[in-house]
Each structure stands twice: as structure tokens, then as C-alpha cells.
Symmetry: C2
Subunit: 474 residues, 2 copies
């Protein structure tokens, strides 16, 4: 007999008490999945309650999937998330990890994960950030109880505008900045501002989650090939796109950097076609062998560029904070139509403002640059030492990930698999293609931001072991 | 001669240096609006630079609105935000304040503001929240550098599910909860999940910003009258709506509470029509003279109700955190299509989880209930004392605002104006109508959450003074 009881002293009606108790026992395993549940009649007798009560509870269990009915047999306990259960809490979904559609059971844990979006675990400026939060709360006064500007705190945007000019040659006034919670937030706003635009060109391969998101909003996607100079402007000129999404500072995933002449040509395209360029500058702070090239936004004289930056690389993705710089025409459109949105916590915006104003920000970036510069150097060195002439390294002049072209006639899928068998996670470039085409040699991309130097070495040694039998014979 | 100079040692190209310097001087007032700017030729000479450089800089100033060109006369400095300047930084846009379209110059400051969305300035649990943030950061470990689940931290959602069951009779599993940054975040997700739905019914009058937002997403809005029992289910049954947005615990703005029989009838409508009910339970924690009625979500046996709650009332709107409970069918849809979104900071979610788990939350709510209960009592008392039989108070059995029907043949606009002339801000119910119809007697709504008891008394005394000459003669 199940352990169930109804009481008059609950705020919940009887059927809800019954439903909740049964559901909780099914969830906790007290009633195991697959167990046959008592008949309506026998529960009525056990609990001394009405038929409606029991039927209502069963109806809810069935609707929610905690029970399934087998005709002529009875009602059985079930796991509503049986087949399509979301990843368990600890897994931490990573959008760039498994492509745009992370689904299914959690990935097995890898000993070493060269995840491209990961950042260094030691670098978070714990002490100063805690102090900023503390001081900010202390000084907040009446503001702590009020709504702020949905576009972002004005004073914070002012500080951001200064930083962007100094550091990224982005030229803007605070009115052009929209503070958000991440790139999908920005895409959501652009989707509305782009009413009337039908086709958006995308780097191929490119950042699949953003492509997927625009697609969900009903835009037609035109894949445009990426060369070692970033998106092919020539191919773009042939397309019918009215907007283009690009990562010119360090193309995702190939890592190429768009040179100055291509930038000017791209801007001419936008001017001629009255098209918009979405410049995603996600890791532009980190450059190694290249001289800084001003952002497209800074070169733009016609208000065609939308610039998107993030705190996910230079600070932490856990904060969920980014920003978008709109050209003035779109600012006006936004103000006129009153787009409604909810950005990140005001408290975090105040804290970040102080963090920048008090110089912690620049110190932090210098520290990150130094650490990543060192890691980058070591990473390239290790790959050359262990994998030698069997791989070609590209896309390594900036950012936190690189691309490997591997000298084998096996597929990239096999390479990923063999690596996984040794406990090393590397990423298949194919997954970032909209319409994958087989490349002559398989391509893999790896991030070095989230691994220690020791893990790095261990990982590369294991990769050598994993791939050794696969090299193309000379 | 303007104070401008170009250098080779800047990261910015010459035209950008020139543009930036001129723009900054225009912004700061160094070059006043309306001042005639030097000709291209004279700037070339002054700076020893090329025609292209000067022309490019002027082109940018003109594009961005920092300069205007008057034919046959020259180029003049201008304020790009002249006419449509967004509200200045300190004003703090409040969405419920001036209706869905807050625009134009900042409102004059009122001495006493009965703003409906305001919360008590003294109640924010500064000490314990600071401690939660502190401890959370301390314990965060590796997680601080990683992306989380875009649907919200799983452990936080588990705690939320428990709270919702205990406190609001909302029955759900964590998989049904989507943590967001506010109601517009939730609306953004619903807009996608509602693909295929054409018409959404709305309370008339109702919460204009949400109505406006659904409208922007392309849904047809069907206004349905509100009675003293909430939305008229009878009228809804006559409509073609496939979904309805309602505030049954305390209708916004009229304040009516939907009784149990109407809830059951509404649920039957949804079941019959396969329609969705969006239940916005924004201030359901605060009840005065009414017994708690379980949320619609808790009564729903068919998975038709979407429940939305917020931390803006019981905690603070500055945090930008809310949550939505989806029926399982929509959870499945969401999982299958992989809707991409960015919720609030993980750190804030962890802190809120601890805040609830450690019992601060329940203590805080008890404290809020007590304070607001007291304020509510005093507010009603003051209105009765000073405005007496000239006004009728309704919608005061729950929440943080009430409705006044005023015994005068003047319009609500006049009442608001007269109040403003005495330095008191009250709110015109007309603004929350989609298609305003003149009511027999003008209606005003006022919040008491954000004013102290002293301000409250002062405000009501001033209202008496403001309206005294307007009473209808008996
Ligand atoms: C290409 C690209 N854009 C943007 C981002 C950052 O997005 P967010 O600001 O939402 O964290 C990433 C993160 O990995 C990325 O790889
Ligand atoms: C009717 C209604 N719904 C919802 C909200 C809360 O929205 P949010 O969670 O975005 O702060 C408010 C705030 O004033 C409101 O009045």
C-alpha cells in the first residue's frame, strides 16, 4: 500500500495533495518507474476520498508524464523526462561545445577539454570584484529599489564608450550602447530592428548558435565562404544579403583575421547596398603576432556597422553581460518603437562601472593578456614538438583558440573519437558549417584558455598517442 | 580657431582623430550647438592634412547628427539627440509609470510619487544579500569561469519549485522553470513558443507594456473587459483568442481579484479551446482582506497555464530576475527547438538560491508583508479620512496599489494635472486601456509601496487640496 494521506488543514485541495505526494514519490524513486499504481477504486477506499479526487490526481500525473496508461492493464509510474531529459544540473551546457543543439544525455567527462569558449580558471579577479559589489551595494541608496534604464545604466554606458574608443577604436556615444545579458540578447533586439530585412549572410563555417538564432527568427541565411582573410567579400558581393554577421578580429572557428583592405572593401559593400554589418568582437582583446587593426565600427563612416562585445572572455561568462553598439539610425528606430527588454542586474552594472573606473579593468586585461600570451606560446610550441609536421596550425594570431589541419585521410569525426578514447576533447570544425563540405584534410579546433599548462602538455601528448596510427604515409 | 591637432602616434587614423576631437568638443559644449564649423579648406590648412581626412571626419559628424549642413551657408554643430533625446541618466525609466512609451524629456520631479511599481526603500535586505554574494563568490570555485544552463541554474530552479509549491500552490518540476531577467524576457520566449497562435486576449484595461510587446511580435491583441471579478470569462468565451494574458491575483491596474469559480470557468475555456493562459502573478505575495486562492497554475489539470513570477516586488526590480513556469508540452517544444537565450548572472542565481535555502527569503517576505500590511491599512485610512465620500476605493484587497473612482465630472487627466500642480504624482487608469472608453466617473490608480507613511499623509492632504474644487455637487 502506498504511503499517502490527505488532510483538511492543507492549503492544497485534496486532488492536489494526492497528485503532489504521488509525483514526489515517483520523482524520489519511492514509487519506482514502471510500477503499477493502485486502481482508482482501491485508492478511494484507502484514502476515504471521492472518485473525482483520485481521477483528477491521476489525470494530472498522466498529463505531466509521471504516469502512463496501458490499455486493459492499468496506470504505471513513469519518468516524464525519460527520453529527452535535459542535461543534468552539473554538466553546465556550453553552447559552443556541441554545436547549436546540445541535447541528449550529458557528455562523458573528458580528462582534458580543449573547449574553445573556456577561460582561465585562476584569472577571475575575485577580491576586487567582491569589493566592487560590496561598495556598490553600500553606496546604492534609494536606487537599489528602483527600475533602471532598460538599455543599460547611463553612467555605465559612458564608461564603456570610453573604454571602447581607447581599446578597440570603436567610436560611439552612450546613447548608441545597449547593455545585454549575452549575444542572444543582442540578436533578439536586432531581429526586431531588422524588420524588413530578409537575408543575412553568415561566415561558412561560422558561429552556429547565432546563425541558428537568426534562423529561428525567420531570417534566410546565406552561407559565404571564409578564406584566410576572413569572410570572402567577393562572394558576399555576389549574394543578395542585406546584412552580414562576421567575426573579423578572429574568425570563429577558423581563427583568421580580416586585413585592412578587406575591411575597407566590406564597408564599401555595406555602403553601396545599404546593408548592415554585425561585427562580433568576442575575443578581440587578445592578439599575438598581429598588429591591432581598428574595429570595423571605427572605420565605418556611414553608420552601417553594429558592434557586439562581451564580458565573457575578458571577465567571466557566469556574469552574463555584453553590449552592442548601434548606428544612430537604429538607435532612432529603437527609441521610436520603444523596444521592450530587460538587461542585466543594475547592481552588476554599477559594480562593473566601478571596476573599470577604478582601473581594475585595465589591470585585469593586462594580466589576462600576459597569461594568455604565455599559454598561447606554450601551446603552439607543444603542438610543434609533439605533432610536428603532421598538423598545420592556423588561426593562431589572436584569441583563445586555434585551428589544426591534420595530415591524414581519416575524417575529423574519427580524430575527435580517437582523442576522446584517450580522454581528450577536441572540436570538429565540421560542426560549425551550415552545409558541411568535406575538406581535403580534416580540420579540428582547440581552445587553450581553460586548460593549465600542465593539462595542455598532457593533452597534446595524449593527442599524439591517439592520432599516431592515422598519419598519412609520405 | 578650433583646438584640434593630429598626431602620427595615435592608434586612430587621422580622420578618426579629427572626428573624435570635434565630436567630443560638440558634446562637451566646447563647440556650442549652432556654431558654424570651419570650411574644409581652412581646416586642411590649419591642420596640414588632406582633403579626404577632413571630408571623412565631416561626413561622420553629419551622419551621426553632430553637424548639419545648411546649403549655401556651411556646416553647423548640432545636438544629435536634440529632439528625441532619451531620458537623462538619473531619471530611471519606469515602465509602468508613463505607459508603454516613455519618451520625451524627463518628467518633472514630483514631491510625492504614488508610483504603482515602487517598492519600500527601507526593506532591501542589504546585510544578508551582501553576505549571500560574498559566500557565493567564496564557494564558487571553477564554476565562476563557466557558462551555465541558459534556462537557469538547475539547483536554483529546484529551490524555486519548492517555494512556489509552498507559497503559491504552483505545482512544477525544475525542468518547467525558465529563469529570466524580467517579464519582457519571458514574453520574448513565449513569442517563439507561440508560433502558430494569432490572437492573444488581454485584460482591458491591462498592463500596457506586455500588451505592447506581444503586439511588436506580431500577435493580434483582443481586449476583453475587466469586471470586479477580473477578466470577463464570458466575453473571453465569445472571442477568437488562442491565448490570454491575465493578472488574476490582483488585476493590473484595477486591483480586482478573480474568485475561484471564475478561475475554474477560465480553465474550462482553455481546456475546451486548447488555449493558453498566461498568469502574471507579479504581486501575489501580498494579500490583505482576502483568503489565499490557489494560483491558476495549481488548479490546472491540463497543462494550459503559463505562470510568471518576479523578484521585482518581493526583492528589488534592480536585480532584474524573474521566472516562468511552462506546461510540459511547451517545455518539450522548447527543448526540441533549442531556443537560445541568456538569463541573469549565475552568481545572482546562486546567491538567491542560498538566500532562499537559508531562510532569509521567508523572513524577508514576512517582514515585507508586515510592513505593507501596515502601510496598506494606513493608506486606506488616510484616504477615507481626507477624501471621504468623494472617492470610492477598489482593488485594495491585495498588492501594492489601489484604484480610486472620483466623484467629479472632470476627466482623469484633469485630476492628474491638478495633483501634479501640488507636487503629487498619481496615475491615470486611461493609460492602461488599449481603446480607452470614457468611464462615468474618472479613475485613478495609486501605489503605496514606495512612499513612507509620512509622505503618504502629506500626499493625501495635498490631493484633497488639489481636488477640493472639483467634487460633484450633491
Ligand atoms: C563567436 C562568439 N561570439 C560571441 C560569444 C560570446 O557570447 P556571450 O556574450 O553570449 O557569452 C562567443 C562565446 O564563446 C563566441 O564564440
Ligand atoms: C503587471 C505587472 N507584471 C509584471 C511586473 C514585473 O515585471 P518584471 O519582473 O519585469 O520587473 C510588473 C511590474 O511593475 C507589473 O506591474
Amino acid at each position: 500500500m502506498l504511503n499517502l494521506h490527505l488532510t483538511d488543514r492543507s492549503a492544497l485541495p485534496a486532488y492536489m495533495q494526492l497528485y503532489t505526494q504521488m509525483r514526489d514519490q515517483i520523482r524520489s524513486g519511492g514509487i519506482p518507474y514502471g510500477m503499477r499504481l493502485p486502481s482508482v477504486r482501491s485508492l478511494m477506499q484507502q484514502l476515504g476520498t471521492s472518485k473525482t479526487t483520485v481521477e483528477s490526481a491521476y489525470h494530472m500525473l498522466l498529463t505531466e508524464g509521471y504516469a502512463v496508461s496501458r490499455p486493459k492493464s492499468g496506470i504505471y509510474a513513469a519518468n516524464p523526462f525519460g527520453a529527452s531529459q535535459p542535461a543534468p544540473p552539473s554538466a553546465g551546457t556550453d553552447r559552443t561545445l556541441s554545436g547549436p543543439l546540445p541535447k541528449g544525455p550529458a557528455e562523458e567527462a573528458h580528462r582534458i577539454d580543449f573547449r574553445p569558449s573556456a577561460v582561465d580558471a585562476q584569472l577571475f579577479p575575485m577580491r576586487s570584484w567582491r569589493k566592487m559589489l560590496h561598495d556598490t551595494l553600500d553606496r546604492s541608496g534609494e536606487k537599489i529599489n528602483k527600475y533602471g534604464d532598460p538599455q543599460g545604466e547611463y553612467a555605465f554606458r559612458t564608461v564603456l564608450a570610453d573604454y571602447l574608443r581607447n581599446s578597440r577604436c570603436v567610436v560611439c556615444v552612450p546613447e548608441q550602447i545597449v547593455v545585454g545579458t549575452g549575444i542572444h540578447y543582442s540578436v533578439g533586439i536586432l531581429a526586431k530592428l531588422f524588420a524588413g530585412i530578409g537575408r543575412i549572410a553568415f561566415e561558412e563555417p561560422g558561429f552556429a548558435p547565432v546563425r541558428e538564432h537568426f534562423n529561428q527568427y525567420g531570417f534566410r541565411i546565406e552561407p559565404v565562404p571564409v578564406t584566410e582573410k576572413g569572410i570572402s567579400v567577393e562572394a558576399l558581393e555576389q549574394s543578395c544579403a542585406e546584412a552580414v554577421y562576421i567575426t573579423p578580429s578572429h574568425q570563429f572557428p577558423t581563427g583568421s583575421v580580416m586585413p585592412y583592405p578587406e575591411r575597407e572593401r566590406l564597408l564599401r559593400w555595406a555602403q553601396t547596398k545599404n546593408a548592415y554589418i554585425i561585427e562580433d568582437d568576442y575575443d578581440g582583446e587578445f592578439r599575438y603576432s598581429v598588429k591591432p587593426i581598428p574595429s570595423l565600427q571605427g572605420l565605418d563612416r556611414d553608420g552601417r556597422v553594429i558592434y557586439i562585445g562581451t564580458f565573457s572572455k575578458v571577465f567571466t561568462p557566469a556574469l552574463r553581460m555584453n553590449y552592442m553598439v548601434l548606428p544612430l539610425t537604429l538607435v532612432e528606430k529603437m527609441n521610436n518603437v520603444n523596444y521592450l527588454f530587460d538587461g542585466p542586474s543594475r547592481i552588476d552594472q554599477w559594480a562593473m562601472q566601478s571596476f573599470i573606473e577604478q582601473g581594475h579593468w585595465y589591470r585585469h586585461i593586462r594580466r589576462m593578456r600576459k597569461t594568455y600570451g604565455k599559454k598561447h606560446h606554450r601551446f603552439i610550441g607543444l603542438i610543434r614538438d609533439y605533432l610536428g609536421e603532421h598538423v598545420r596550425i592556423t588561426g593562431h594570431s589572436a584569441g583563445l583558440h586555434i585551428q589544426l589541419t591534420v595530415d591524414t585521410n581519416r575524417t575529423s569525426g574519427i580524430l575527435v573519437e580517437r582523442a576522446a578514447a584517450e580522454g581528450v576533447k577536441v572540436y570538429d570544425l565540421q560542426e560549425m558549417w551550415m552545409k558541411p563540405v568535406p575538406s581535403e584534410r580534416p580540420q579540428i579546433y582547440l581552445g587553450f584558455g581553460g586548460v593549465s599548462e600542465q593539462q595542455m602538455e598532457e593533452g597534446i601528448v595524449l593527442l599524439k598517442k591517439a592520432w599516431e596510427g592515422l598519419w598519412e604515409e609520405a
